[in-house]
Amino acid sequence: MTSPLRREDVAHVAKLARLSLSDAELDQFTLQLGQILEHANDMSSLDLEGVIPTAHPFGLINVVRDDVVRPSLDRDEVLAMAPDAEDGRFAVPRIMGEAP
Protein backbone atom coordinates (compact mmCIF):
# COMPACT_ATOMS: atom_id res chain seq x y z
CA MET A 1 0.00 0.00 0.00
CA THR A 2 2.61 2.59 -1.04
CA SER A 3 0.90 5.78 -2.09
CA PRO A 4 -1.07 4.46 -5.02
CA LEU A 5 -2.85 7.69 -5.83
CA ARG A 6 -2.62 8.95 -9.40
CA ARG A 7 -4.06 12.10 -10.88
CA GLU A 8 -6.60 10.12 -12.89
CA ASP A 9 -7.77 8.36 -9.71
CA VAL A 10 -8.46 11.74 -8.16
CA ALA A 11 -10.33 12.84 -11.28
CA HIS A 12 -12.41 9.66 -11.21
CA VAL A 13 -13.23 10.08 -7.52
CA ALA A 14 -14.24 13.71 -8.11
CA LYS A 15 -16.68 12.51 -10.75
CA LEU A 16 -18.16 9.92 -8.36
CA ALA A 17 -18.53 12.60 -5.68
CA ARG A 18 -20.06 15.12 -8.10
CA LEU A 19 -17.31 17.69 -7.63
CA SER A 20 -15.46 19.45 -10.44
CA LEU A 21 -11.83 20.26 -9.79
CA SER A 22 -9.62 22.70 -11.63
CA ASP A 23 -6.23 21.46 -12.90
CA ALA A 24 -4.54 23.17 -9.98
CA GLU A 25 -6.93 21.59 -7.47
CA LEU A 26 -6.42 18.22 -9.09
CA ASP A 27 -2.66 18.54 -8.60
CA GLN A 28 -3.03 19.75 -5.03
CA PHE A 29 -5.51 17.03 -4.05
CA THR A 30 -3.37 14.33 -5.66
CA LEU A 31 -0.48 15.47 -3.50
CA GLN A 32 -2.43 15.96 -0.26
CA LEU A 33 -4.59 12.85 -0.47
CA GLY A 34 -1.45 10.91 -1.37
CA GLN A 35 0.21 12.14 1.82
CA ILE A 36 -2.76 11.18 3.97
CA LEU A 37 -2.92 7.73 2.38
CA GLU A 38 0.80 7.36 2.89
CA HIS A 39 0.29 8.08 6.58
CA ALA A 40 -2.38 5.36 6.56
CA ASN A 41 0.27 2.92 5.40
CA ASP A 42 1.16 2.36 9.05
CA MET A 43 -1.93 0.14 9.15
CA SER A 44 -0.96 -1.90 6.14
CA SER A 45 2.01 -3.50 7.85
CA LEU A 46 -0.31 -5.01 10.45
CA ASP A 47 -1.49 -8.55 10.10
CA LEU A 48 -5.19 -8.15 10.80
CA GLU A 49 -6.25 -11.42 9.21
CA GLY A 50 -9.21 -12.75 11.18
CA VAL A 51 -9.90 -9.51 13.05
CA ILE A 52 -13.61 -8.70 12.85
CA PRO A 53 -14.17 -5.19 11.49
CA THR A 54 -16.11 -2.82 13.77
CA ALA A 55 -18.49 -0.51 11.96
CA HIS A 56 -20.26 0.53 15.12
CA PRO A 57 -19.02 1.17 18.65
CA PHE A 58 -21.35 -1.21 20.46
CA GLY A 59 -23.77 -3.98 19.97
CA LEU A 60 -27.34 -2.85 20.30
CA ILE A 61 -29.62 -5.06 18.18
CA ASN A 62 -33.21 -5.05 16.93
CA VAL A 63 -33.98 -1.39 17.54
CA VAL A 64 -37.41 -0.98 15.97
CA ARG A 65 -40.44 1.28 16.22
CA ASP A 66 -44.17 0.52 16.11
CA ASP A 67 -45.90 0.83 12.75
CA VAL A 68 -47.93 3.86 13.80
CA VAL A 69 -48.52 6.91 11.62
CA ARG A 70 -47.08 10.21 12.86
CA PRO A 71 -47.79 13.63 11.44
CA SER A 72 -45.92 14.59 8.28
CA LEU A 73 -44.45 18.03 7.55
CA ASP A 74 -46.48 20.82 6.03
CA ARG A 75 -45.89 20.73 2.29
CA ASP A 76 -45.82 24.48 1.85
CA GLU A 77 -43.18 24.84 4.53
CA VAL A 78 -41.05 22.14 2.90
CA LEU A 79 -41.42 23.47 -0.64
CA ALA A 80 -40.65 27.00 0.57
CA MET A 81 -37.09 25.88 1.29
CA ALA A 82 -36.69 24.21 -2.13
CA PRO A 83 -34.53 25.99 -4.72
CA ASP A 84 -37.34 25.40 -7.25
CA ALA A 85 -40.82 23.94 -6.88
CA GLU A 86 -43.84 23.57 -9.12
CA ASP A 87 -47.24 21.98 -8.75
CA GLY A 88 -46.61 20.65 -5.24
CA ARG A 89 -43.32 19.09 -6.29
CA PHE A 90 -39.59 19.77 -6.29
CA ALA A 91 -38.47 20.95 -9.73
CA VAL A 92 -35.14 19.92 -11.22
CA PRO A 93 -33.47 20.34 -14.60
CA ARG A 94 -33.78 17.45 -17.04
CA ILE A 95 -32.61 14.04 -15.84
CA MET A 96 -30.20 12.35 -18.22
CA GLY A 97 -30.85 8.65 -17.92
CA GLU A 98 -32.83 6.42 -15.63
CA ALA A 99 -31.91 5.43 -12.10
CA PRO A 100 -29.32 2.66 -12.02
Binding site: L16, R18, A55, H56, G59, L60, I61, N62, V63, V64, R65, D66, D67, V68, V69, R70, P71, S72, L73, R75, V78, L79, E86, D87, G88, R89, F90, A91, V92, P93, R94, I95, G97, E98, A99, P100
Partner: protein
Protein backbone atom coordinates in the same frame (compact mmCIF):
# COMPACT_ATOMS: atom_id res chain seq x y z
CA UNK B 1 -42.97 -19.11 -27.63
CA UNK B 2 -40.24 -21.60 -28.51
CA UNK B 3 -36.83 -20.29 -29.40
CA UNK B 4 -35.36 -21.10 -32.82
CA UNK B 5 -32.68 -23.75 -33.31
CA UNK B 6 -31.53 -25.43 -30.15
CA UNK B 7 -31.45 -22.22 -28.15
CA UNK B 8 -32.53 -22.15 -24.55
CA UNK B 9 -33.07 -19.05 -22.44
CA UNK B 10 -31.80 -18.68 -18.89
CA UNK B 11 -33.68 -16.20 -16.74
CA UNK B 12 -33.40 -14.98 -13.16
CA UNK B 13 -35.86 -12.48 -11.74
CA UNK B 14 -35.50 -9.72 -9.15
CA UNK B 15 -38.94 -8.89 -7.84
CA UNK B 16 -39.39 -5.72 -5.78
CA UNK B 17 -42.50 -5.69 -3.68
CA UNK B 18 -43.75 -2.80 -1.58
CA UNK B 19 -44.82 -3.91 1.87
CA UNK B 20 -48.35 -3.23 3.09
CA UNK B 21 -47.38 -1.38 6.26
CA UNK B 22 -49.20 1.61 7.72
CA UNK B 23 -46.00 3.68 7.75
CA UNK B 24 -42.75 3.92 5.84
CA UNK B 25 -39.65 1.86 6.48
CA UNK B 26 -37.76 4.36 8.66
CA UNK B 27 -40.29 7.03 9.66
CA UNK B 28 -43.90 7.46 10.71
CA UNK B 29 -45.16 8.94 7.44
CA UNK B 30 -48.13 7.14 5.93
CA UNK B 31 -47.31 4.47 3.36
CA UNK B 32 -50.15 5.37 1.06
CA UNK B 33 -50.51 5.23 -2.72
CA UNK B 34 -52.27 8.08 -4.45
CA UNK B 35 -51.93 10.89 -1.87
CA UNK B 36 -51.41 14.47 -3.02
CA UNK B 37 -47.72 14.91 -3.97
CA UNK B 38 -45.31 15.54 -1.09
CA UNK B 39 -47.89 15.29 1.66
CA UNK B 40 -46.47 12.12 3.27
CA UNK B 41 -42.99 13.47 3.95
CA UNK B 42 -40.94 14.27 7.05
CA UNK B 43 -37.30 15.08 7.88
CA UNK B 44 -36.37 11.38 7.68
CA UNK B 45 -37.88 10.36 4.32
CA UNK B 46 -36.90 13.72 2.87
CA UNK B 47 -33.30 13.14 3.97
CA UNK B 48 -33.11 16.48 5.78
CA UNK B 49 -29.77 17.20 7.46
CA UNK B 50 -29.71 15.70 10.95
CA UNK B 51 -32.52 13.20 10.45
CA UNK B 52 -32.05 9.54 11.41
CA UNK B 53 -33.80 6.32 10.40
CA UNK B 54 -35.62 4.03 12.84
CA UNK B 55 -36.70 0.63 11.53
CA UNK B 56 -40.40 -0.24 11.24
CA UNK B 57 -41.09 -3.46 13.19
CA UNK B 58 -43.99 -4.43 10.94
CA UNK B 59 -41.77 -4.19 7.85
CA UNK B 60 -39.34 -6.62 9.47
CA UNK B 61 -42.16 -9.03 10.27
CA UNK B 62 -43.57 -8.91 6.74
CA UNK B 63 -40.09 -9.54 5.34
CA UNK B 64 -39.76 -12.53 7.65
CA UNK B 65 -43.21 -13.74 6.57
CA UNK B 66 -42.05 -13.64 2.95
CA UNK B 67 -38.91 -15.52 3.96
CA UNK B 68 -40.91 -18.23 5.73
CA UNK B 69 -43.31 -18.59 2.79
CA UNK B 70 -40.33 -18.99 0.44
CA UNK B 71 -38.62 -21.54 2.72
CA UNK B 72 -35.70 -19.18 3.33
CA UNK B 73 -33.24 -19.19 6.19
CA UNK B 74 -33.86 -16.15 8.39
CA UNK B 75 -30.60 -14.89 9.83
CA UNK B 76 -28.90 -12.02 11.58
CA UNK B 77 -28.65 -9.20 9.06
CA UNK B 78 -27.25 -5.71 8.59
CA UNK B 79 -28.10 -2.62 6.61
CA UNK B 80 -25.80 -0.96 4.10
CA UNK B 81 -25.78 2.27 2.17
CA UNK B 82 -25.79 2.01 -1.62
CA UNK B 83 -24.37 5.33 -2.79
CA UNK B 84 -25.36 6.98 -6.06
CA UNK B 85 -26.77 10.33 -7.03
CA UNK B 86 -30.33 10.49 -8.29
CA UNK B 87 -32.90 13.24 -7.69
CA UNK B 88 -35.67 10.90 -6.54
CA UNK B 89 -33.42 9.57 -3.78
CA UNK B 90 -33.32 12.24 -1.06
CA UNK B 91 -30.16 11.15 0.76
CA UNK B 92 -28.39 10.22 -2.49
CA UNK B 93 -27.95 6.78 -1.04
CA UNK B 94 -30.39 3.92 -0.60
CA UNK B 95 -30.56 1.98 2.65
CA UNK B 96 -30.57 -1.67 1.64
CA UNK B 97 -29.21 -5.03 2.74
CA UNK B 98 -26.02 -6.25 1.13
CA UNK B 99 -23.85 -9.17 2.21
CA UNK B 100 -26.09 -10.21 5.10
CA UNK B 101 -29.76 -10.19 4.02
CA UNK B 102 -32.58 -11.12 6.39
CA UNK B 103 -33.70 -14.06 4.17
CA UNK B 104 -31.53 -16.30 2.04
CA UNK B 105 -31.49 -19.72 0.40
CA UNK B 106 -35.15 -20.56 -0.25
CA UNK B 107 -37.23 -21.91 -3.09
CA UNK B 108 -40.60 -21.67 -4.79
CA UNK B 109 -42.46 -24.64 -6.29
CA UNK B 110 -44.71 -23.77 -9.23
CA UNK B 111 -48.06 -25.45 -10.04
CA UNK B 112 -46.44 -27.21 -13.02
CA UNK B 113 -44.12 -29.01 -10.62
CA UNK B 114 -40.98 -26.98 -11.45
CA UNK B 115 -38.73 -25.64 -8.70
CA UNK B 116 -37.12 -22.18 -8.67
CA UNK B 117 -34.43 -21.45 -6.10
CA UNK B 118 -34.55 -18.16 -4.21
CA UNK B 119 -31.13 -16.68 -3.51
CA UNK B 120 -32.26 -13.96 -1.12
CA UNK B 121 -35.15 -11.74 -0.11
CA UNK B 122 -33.86 -8.56 1.51
CA UNK B 123 -35.27 -5.34 2.94
CA UNK B 124 -34.64 -1.95 1.36
CA UNK B 125 -36.31 1.43 0.93
CA UNK B 126 -38.12 2.73 -2.14
CA UNK B 127 -37.32 6.02 -3.91
CA UNK B 128 -39.53 8.97 -4.76
CA UNK B 129 -41.14 9.46 -8.15
CA UNK B 130 -40.30 11.86 -10.97
CA UNK B 131 -42.66 13.30 -13.55
CA UNK B 132 -41.04 14.52 -16.76
CA UNK B 133 -42.19 17.73 -18.39
CA UNK B 134 -41.70 18.89 -21.96
CA UNK B 135 -40.97 16.61 -24.92
CA UNK B 136 -43.11 13.49 -24.88
CA UNK B 137 -43.49 13.33 -21.11
CA UNK B 138 -40.94 10.53 -20.98
CA UNK B 139 -37.51 10.87 -19.50
CA UNK B 140 -35.76 11.30 -22.84
CA UNK B 141 -36.36 14.64 -24.42
CA UNK B 142 -37.95 16.14 -21.31
CA UNK B 143 -36.70 19.60 -20.37
CA UNK B 144 -37.29 19.31 -16.64
CA UNK B 145 -38.72 16.99 -14.03
CA UNK B 146 -40.84 17.28 -10.90
CA UNK B 147 -40.20 15.08 -7.90
CA UNK B 148 -42.71 13.72 -5.38
CA UNK B 149 -41.22 12.03 -2.30
CA UNK B 150 -44.39 10.34 -1.02
CA UNK B 151 -42.99 6.96 -2.10
CA UNK B 152 -39.53 7.75 -0.74
CA UNK B 153 -38.79 5.37 2.13
CA UNK B 154 -41.67 2.98 1.50
CA UNK B 155 -40.49 -0.47 2.59
CA UNK B 156 -39.58 -2.94 -0.12
CA UNK B 157 -38.53 -6.55 -0.16
CA UNK B 158 -36.37 -7.53 -3.13
CA UNK B 159 -36.72 -11.22 -3.95
CA UNK B 160 -33.89 -12.55 -6.10
CA UNK B 161 -34.35 -15.89 -7.85
CA UNK B 162 -31.58 -18.14 -9.07
CA UNK B 163 -31.25 -18.37 -12.89
CA UNK B 164 -33.58 -21.38 -12.87
CA UNK B 165 -36.23 -20.05 -15.24
CA UNK B 166 -36.23 -21.40 -18.80
CA UNK B 167 -39.00 -19.64 -20.74
CA UNK B 168 -41.12 -16.52 -20.71
CA UNK B 169 -44.16 -18.59 -19.74
CA UNK B 170 -42.13 -20.06 -16.91
CA UNK B 171 -41.12 -16.56 -15.80
CA UNK B 172 -44.71 -15.48 -15.88
CA UNK B 173 -45.84 -18.50 -13.88
CA UNK B 174 -43.12 -17.81 -11.30
CA UNK B 175 -44.12 -14.15 -10.98
CA UNK B 176 -47.79 -15.05 -10.71
CA UNK B 177 -47.17 -17.68 -8.04
CA UNK B 178 -44.90 -15.30 -6.13
CA UNK B 179 -47.55 -12.62 -6.34
CA UNK B 180 -50.08 -15.06 -4.87
CA UNK B 181 -47.72 -15.80 -2.02
CA UNK B 182 -47.07 -12.13 -1.34
CA UNK B 183 -50.79 -11.49 -1.17
CA UNK B 184 -51.39 -14.55 1.02
CA UNK B 185 -48.73 -13.48 3.54
CA UNK B 186 -50.36 -10.06 3.77
CA UNK B 187 -47.02 -8.53 2.79
CA UNK B 188 -48.25 -6.95 -0.40
CA UNK B 189 -51.40 -6.13 -2.31
CA UNK B 190 -49.63 -7.32 -5.49
CA UNK B 191 -50.95 -4.37 -7.50
CA UNK B 192 -48.49 -4.22 -10.38
CA UNK B 193 -50.44 -1.42 -12.06
CA UNK B 194 -49.76 0.79 -9.01
CA UNK B 195 -46.11 -0.22 -9.02
CA UNK B 196 -46.34 -2.11 -5.76
CA UNK B 197 -44.64 -5.07 -7.50
CA UNK B 198 -41.90 -4.39 -10.07
CA UNK B 199 -39.65 -6.85 -11.81
CA UNK B 200 -36.11 -6.77 -13.25
CA UNK B 201 -35.20 -9.73 -15.46
CA UNK B 202 -31.71 -11.12 -16.07
CA UNK B 203 -31.76 -12.85 -19.44
CA UNK B 204 -29.15 -14.88 -21.30
CA UNK B 205 -29.27 -17.62 -23.93
CA UNK B 206 -27.28 -20.81 -24.48
CA UNK B 207 -27.32 -24.14 -26.26
CA UNK B 208 -28.48 -27.01 -24.02
CA UNK B 209 -25.94 -27.92 -21.33
CA UNK B 210 -23.57 -25.19 -22.48
CA UNK B 211 -22.28 -22.79 -19.78
CA UNK B 212 -24.44 -19.74 -19.11
CA UNK B 213 -24.13 -16.97 -21.68
CA UNK B 214 -23.50 -13.28 -20.92
CA UNK B 215 -26.62 -11.80 -19.35
CA UNK B 216 -28.45 -8.54 -19.80
CA UNK B 217 -30.65 -7.04 -17.12
CA UNK B 218 -33.99 -5.58 -18.21
CA UNK B 219 -35.22 -3.01 -15.68
CA UNK B 220 -38.64 -2.15 -14.36
CA UNK B 221 -41.14 -4.51 -15.91
CA UNK B 222 -44.47 -3.41 -14.51
CA UNK B 223 -46.88 -6.14 -15.65
CA UNK B 224 -46.84 -9.87 -16.24
CA UNK B 225 -47.48 -9.14 -19.91
CA UNK B 226 -44.44 -6.86 -20.17
CA UNK B 227 -42.36 -9.47 -18.39
CA UNK B 228 -43.40 -12.10 -20.90
CA UNK B 229 -42.90 -9.91 -23.97
CA UNK B 230 -39.63 -8.36 -22.82
CA UNK B 231 -38.00 -11.70 -22.08
CA UNK B 232 -39.01 -13.15 -25.44
CA UNK B 233 -37.81 -10.06 -27.27
CA UNK B 234 -34.51 -10.03 -25.42
CA UNK B 235 -33.78 -13.74 -25.92
CA UNK B 236 -34.45 -13.44 -29.66
CA UNK B 237 -32.30 -10.32 -29.85
CA UNK B 238 -29.41 -12.10 -28.19
CA UNK B 239 -29.78 -15.13 -30.48
CA UNK B 240 -29.75 -12.83 -33.53
CA UNK B 241 -26.59 -11.11 -32.31
CA UNK B 242 -24.81 -14.40 -31.67
CA UNK B 243 -25.94 -16.03 -34.90
CA UNK B 244 -24.72 -12.99 -36.81
CA UNK B 245 -21.30 -13.67 -35.33
CA UNK B 246 -21.53 -11.01 -32.63
CA UNK B 247 -21.13 -11.26 -28.86
CA UNK B 248 -23.43 -10.13 -26.08
CA UNK B 249 -22.23 -7.24 -23.91
CA UNK B 250 -23.18 -7.35 -20.27
CA UNK B 251 -25.47 -4.36 -19.83
CA UNK B 252 -28.61 -2.94 -18.32
CA UNK B 253 -31.48 -2.55 -20.80
CA UNK B 254 -34.71 -0.63 -20.83
CA UNK B 255 -38.01 -2.19 -21.99
CA UNK B 256 -40.15 0.04 -24.17
CA UNK B 257 -43.75 -1.05 -23.80
CA UNK B 258 -44.96 0.91 -26.84
CA UNK B 259 -42.33 -0.21 -29.34
CA UNK B 260 -42.08 -3.68 -27.81
CA UNK B 261 -38.30 -3.69 -27.67
CA UNK B 262 -35.39 -3.42 -25.26
CA UNK B 263 -32.57 -0.89 -25.66
CA UNK B 264 -29.24 -0.19 -23.96
CA UNK B 265 -29.44 1.87 -20.77
CA UNK B 266 -25.95 1.38 -19.43
CA UNK B 267 -23.02 -0.86 -20.30
CA UNK B 268 -20.97 -2.72 -17.72
CA UNK B 269 -18.18 -0.16 -18.07
CA UNK B 270 -20.61 2.64 -17.20
CA UNK B 271 -21.94 0.77 -14.18
CA UNK B 272 -22.06 2.76 -10.95
CA UNK B 273 -19.51 2.23 -8.19
CA UNK B 274 -21.99 2.05 -5.31
CA UNK B 275 -19.41 2.19 -2.50
CA UNK B 276 -21.51 -0.02 -0.23
CA UNK B 277 -20.72 0.29 3.47
CA UNK B 278 -22.53 -0.45 6.72
CA UNK B 279 -25.28 2.04 7.57
CA UNK B 280 -23.92 3.58 10.78
CA UNK B 281 -27.30 5.00 11.81
CA UNK B 282 -28.90 1.55 12.15
CA UNK B 283 -28.02 -1.38 14.36
CA UNK B 284 -27.99 -5.08 13.44
CA UNK B 285 -31.21 -7.00 13.05
CA UNK B 286 -31.11 -10.40 14.71
CA UNK B 287 -34.61 -11.85 15.13
CA UNK B 288 -34.53 -14.50 17.85
CA UNK B 289 -36.30 -17.82 17.49
CA UNK B 290 -39.35 -16.66 19.45
CA UNK B 291 -39.88 -13.71 17.13
CA UNK B 292 -39.43 -15.90 14.06
CA UNK B 293 -41.84 -18.49 15.44
CA UNK B 294 -44.46 -15.85 16.13
CA UNK B 295 -44.30 -14.80 12.48
CA UNK B 296 -44.26 -18.40 11.26
CA UNK B 297 -47.26 -19.39 13.38
CA UNK B 298 -49.22 -16.34 12.28
CA UNK B 299 -48.98 -17.24 8.59
CA UNK B 300 -52.07 -18.50 6.76
CA UNK B 301 -51.67 -21.44 4.31
CA UNK B 302 -49.92 -20.58 1.06
CA UNK B 303 -51.52 -20.86 -2.42
CA UNK B 304 -49.95 -24.23 -3.28
CA UNK B 305 -51.41 -25.89 -0.21
CA UNK B 306 -54.79 -24.23 -0.69
CA UNK B 307 -54.83 -25.21 -4.37
CA UNK B 308 -54.13 -28.81 -3.44
CA UNK B 309 -56.87 -28.86 -0.81
CA UNK B 310 -59.48 -27.44 -3.14
CA UNK B 311 -58.50 -29.69 -6.03
CA UNK B 312 -58.94 -32.66 -3.71
CA UNK B 313 -62.62 -31.78 -3.36
CA UNK B 314 -63.17 -32.19 -7.12
CA UNK B 315 -63.43 -35.72 -8.48
CA UNK B 316 -61.25 -36.26 -11.56
CA UNK B 317 -61.04 -32.55 -12.43
CA UNK B 318 -60.82 -31.51 -16.07
CA UNK B 319 -58.16 -29.09 -17.31
CA UNK B 320 -60.75 -26.31 -17.35
CA UNK B 321 -61.69 -27.07 -13.76
CA UNK B 322 -58.03 -27.02 -12.69
CA UNK B 323 -57.67 -23.61 -14.29
CA UNK B 324 -60.81 -22.47 -12.49
CA UNK B 325 -59.27 -23.67 -9.21
CA UNK B 326 -56.19 -21.54 -9.93
CA UNK B 327 -58.34 -18.48 -10.45
CA UNK B 328 -60.18 -19.17 -7.18
CA UNK B 329 -56.87 -19.50 -5.29
CA UNK B 330 -55.22 -16.51 -6.96
CA UNK B 331 -58.14 -14.34 -5.98
CA UNK B 332 -58.55 -15.87 -2.55
CA UNK B 333 -62.16 -16.97 -3.21
CA UNK B 334 -62.01 -20.40 -1.63
CA UNK B 335 -64.03 -19.40 1.40
CA UNK B 336 -67.01 -18.94 -0.95
CA UNK B 337 -66.36 -22.21 -2.72
CA UNK B 338 -65.88 -24.19 0.46
CA UNK B 339 -69.01 -22.74 2.05
CA UNK B 340 -71.01 -23.70 -1.04
CA UNK B 341 -69.63 -27.24 -1.18
CA UNK B 342 -70.30 -27.66 2.53
CA UNK B 343 -73.89 -26.53 1.89
CA UNK B 344 -74.33 -29.30 -0.68
CA UNK B 345 -73.35 -27.59 -3.92
CA UNK B 346 -71.64 -29.73 -6.57
CA UNK B 347 -67.88 -28.77 -6.23
CA UNK B 348 -67.46 -28.21 -9.98
CA UNK B 349 -70.41 -25.81 -10.07
CA UNK B 350 -69.20 -23.92 -6.99
CA UNK B 351 -65.71 -23.53 -8.51
CA UNK B 352 -67.11 -22.45 -11.88
CA UNK B 353 -69.38 -19.75 -10.43
CA UNK B 354 -66.56 -18.41 -8.23
CA UNK B 355 -63.95 -18.45 -11.02
CA UNK B 356 -66.28 -16.63 -13.42
CA UNK B 357 -68.95 -14.55 -11.73
CA UNK B 358 -67.11 -13.70 -8.50
CA UNK B 359 -63.81 -13.18 -10.30
CA UNK B 360 -65.49 -10.71 -12.67
CA UNK B 361 -66.70 -8.67 -9.71
CA UNK B 362 -63.70 -9.29 -7.45
CA UNK B 363 -63.52 -5.78 -6.06
CA UNK B 364 -67.14 -6.09 -4.90
CA UNK B 365 -66.79 -9.40 -3.04
CA UNK B 366 -66.83 -7.65 0.34
CA UNK B 367 -70.56 -7.10 -0.31
CA UNK B 368 -71.21 -10.80 -0.73
CA UNK B 369 -71.69 -13.16 2.21
CA UNK B 370 -70.52 -16.76 1.62
CA UNK B 371 -73.99 -17.95 2.76
CA UNK B 372 -75.65 -15.83 0.06
CA UNK B 373 -73.31 -17.30 -2.55
CA UNK B 374 -74.09 -20.84 -1.34
CA UNK B 375 -77.86 -20.23 -1.29
CA UNK B 376 -77.85 -18.84 -4.83
CA UNK B 377 -75.84 -21.65 -6.35
CA UNK B 378 -77.90 -24.16 -4.42
CA UNK B 379 -81.09 -22.69 -5.95
CA UNK B 380 -79.50 -23.00 -9.35
CA UNK B 381 -78.51 -26.60 -8.70
CA UNK B 382 -82.03 -27.44 -7.58
CA UNK B 383 -83.54 -25.92 -10.67
CA UNK B 384 -85.18 -23.01 -8.91
CA UNK B 385 -82.94 -20.69 -10.92
CA UNK B 386 -81.59 -21.09 -14.41
CA UNK B 387 -77.87 -20.60 -14.96
CA UNK B 388 -78.53 -17.16 -16.40
CA UNK B 389 -80.78 -16.22 -13.49
CA UNK B 390 -78.24 -17.49 -11.02
CA UNK B 391 -75.58 -15.29 -12.61
CA UNK B 392 -77.92 -12.30 -12.53
CA UNK B 393 -78.61 -12.84 -8.82
CA UNK B 394 -74.89 -13.17 -8.08
CA UNK B 395 -74.25 -9.93 -9.98
CA UNK B 396 -76.87 -8.18 -7.88
CA UNK B 397 -75.48 -9.61 -4.65
CA UNK B 398 -71.98 -8.42 -5.58
CA UNK B 399 -73.20 -4.96 -6.46
CA UNK B 400 -75.28 -4.32 -3.39
CA UNK B 401 -75.51 -7.40 -1.18
CA UNK B 402 -78.85 -8.68 0.10
CA UNK B 403 -80.81 -11.92 0.24
CA UNK B 404 -80.78 -14.15 -2.89
CA UNK B 405 -84.41 -15.30 -2.48
CA UNK B 406 -85.73 -11.74 -2.28
CA UNK B 407 -83.62 -10.70 -5.27
CA UNK B 408 -84.90 -13.65 -7.32
CA UNK B 409 -88.46 -12.82 -6.33
CA UNK B 410 -88.10 -9.13 -7.13
CA UNK B 411 -86.74 -10.03 -10.55
CA UNK B 412 -89.70 -12.34 -11.12
CA UNK B 413 -87.48 -15.40 -11.40
CA UNK B 414 -89.50 -17.46 -8.96
CA UNK B 415 -92.65 -17.99 -11.07
CA UNK B 416 -90.64 -19.94 -13.55
CA UNK B 417 -90.06 -22.62 -11.05
CA UNK B 418 -92.21 -25.76 -10.99
CA UNK B 419 -95.78 -24.83 -11.96
CA UNK B 420 -95.02 -22.19 -14.49
CA UNK B 421 -92.28 -24.22 -16.16
CA UNK B 422 -94.55 -27.28 -16.22
CA UNK B 423 -97.33 -25.47 -18.06
CA UNK B 424 -94.87 -23.95 -20.54
CA UNK B 425 -93.46 -27.40 -21.33
CA UNK B 426 -96.98 -28.88 -21.67
CA UNK B 427 -97.91 -26.12 -24.06
CA UNK B 428 -94.81 -26.74 -26.22
CA UNK B 429 -95.52 -30.50 -26.39
CA UNK B 430 -98.97 -29.72 -27.68
CA UNK B 431 -97.64 -27.32 -30.31
CA UNK B 432 -94.88 -29.67 -31.53
CA UNK B 433 -96.36 -33.18 -31.68
CA UNK B 434 -93.82 -34.56 -34.21
CA UNK B 435 -90.81 -33.55 -32.16
CA UNK B 436 -92.41 -34.82 -28.99
CA UNK B 437 -93.07 -38.21 -30.65
CA UNK B 438 -89.45 -38.56 -31.80
CA UNK B 439 -88.25 -37.60 -28.34
CA UNK B 440 -90.49 -40.19 -26.76
CA UNK B 441 -89.05 -42.77 -29.17
CA UNK B 442 -85.61 -42.09 -27.71
CA UNK B 443 -84.10 -39.33 -29.83
CA UNK B 444 -82.36 -37.49 -27.00
CA UNK B 445 -81.15 -34.69 -29.28
CA UNK B 446 -84.68 -33.34 -29.27
CA UNK B 447 -84.36 -32.42 -25.61
CA UNK B 448 -82.15 -29.59 -26.83
CA UNK B 449 -84.93 -28.46 -29.18
CA UNK B 450 -87.41 -28.21 -26.31
CA UNK B 451 -84.91 -26.46 -24.06
CA UNK B 452 -84.25 -23.93 -26.82
CA UNK B 453 -87.98 -23.29 -27.21
CA UNK B 454 -88.46 -22.87 -23.46
CA UNK B 455 -85.53 -20.46 -23.32
CA UNK B 456 -87.02 -18.44 -26.16
CA UNK B 457 -90.39 -18.15 -24.41
CA UNK B 458 -88.87 -17.38 -21.01
CA UNK B 459 -86.18 -15.08 -22.37
CA UNK B 460 -83.49 -17.40 -21.12
CA UNK B 461 -84.74 -17.55 -17.58
CA UNK B 462 -85.37 -21.30 -17.41
CA UNK B 463 -83.07 -23.93 -16.06
CA UNK B 464 -82.04 -26.54 -18.64
CA UNK B 465 -81.94 -29.36 -16.16
CA UNK B 466 -85.40 -28.46 -14.89
CA UNK B 467 -86.75 -28.50 -18.46
CA UNK B 468 -85.32 -31.99 -18.98
CA UNK B 469 -86.92 -33.08 -15.72
CA UNK B 470 -90.29 -31.81 -16.94
CA UNK B 471 -89.86 -33.60 -20.28
CA UNK B 472 -88.84 -36.83 -18.57
CA UNK B 473 -91.87 -36.63 -16.33
CA UNK B 474 -94.15 -36.51 -19.36
CA UNK B 475 -92.32 -39.04 -21.55
Amino acid sequence: MTLPGEWEMVVGLEVHTELKTATKMFCGCANQFGSEPNTNICPVCLGLPGSLPVLNERAVELAMAIGVALHCRIASSTFHRKNYFYPDMPKDFQITQYDLPINSGGYLDLPDGSHVSIERAHLEEDTGKSTHLGGTGRIHGADRSLVDYNRSGVPLVEIVSAPDIRSSAHARAYAAELRGILIATGASDGRMEEGSMRIDANVSVRKPNAPFGTRCEIKNLNSLRSLHRAIDYEALRQIDVIEDGGTIRQETRHWDEIFGETSTMRTKEEAEDYRYFREPDLVDLDPNQAWQDRVRNGLPPMPAERRQKLTARLSEPSQAQLEAVEVVIDLGLENFVNAAIDAGVEPALAVARAANELAAGIEMTPNLAPEAFSATVLMEQGGALSATQSKTVLGELLASGGDPKSIAKAKGFEQLSSDSLGSTVAELIEQNPDEWARYREGDEKLAQFFIGQVMKLTKGQANGKAVIAELQARR
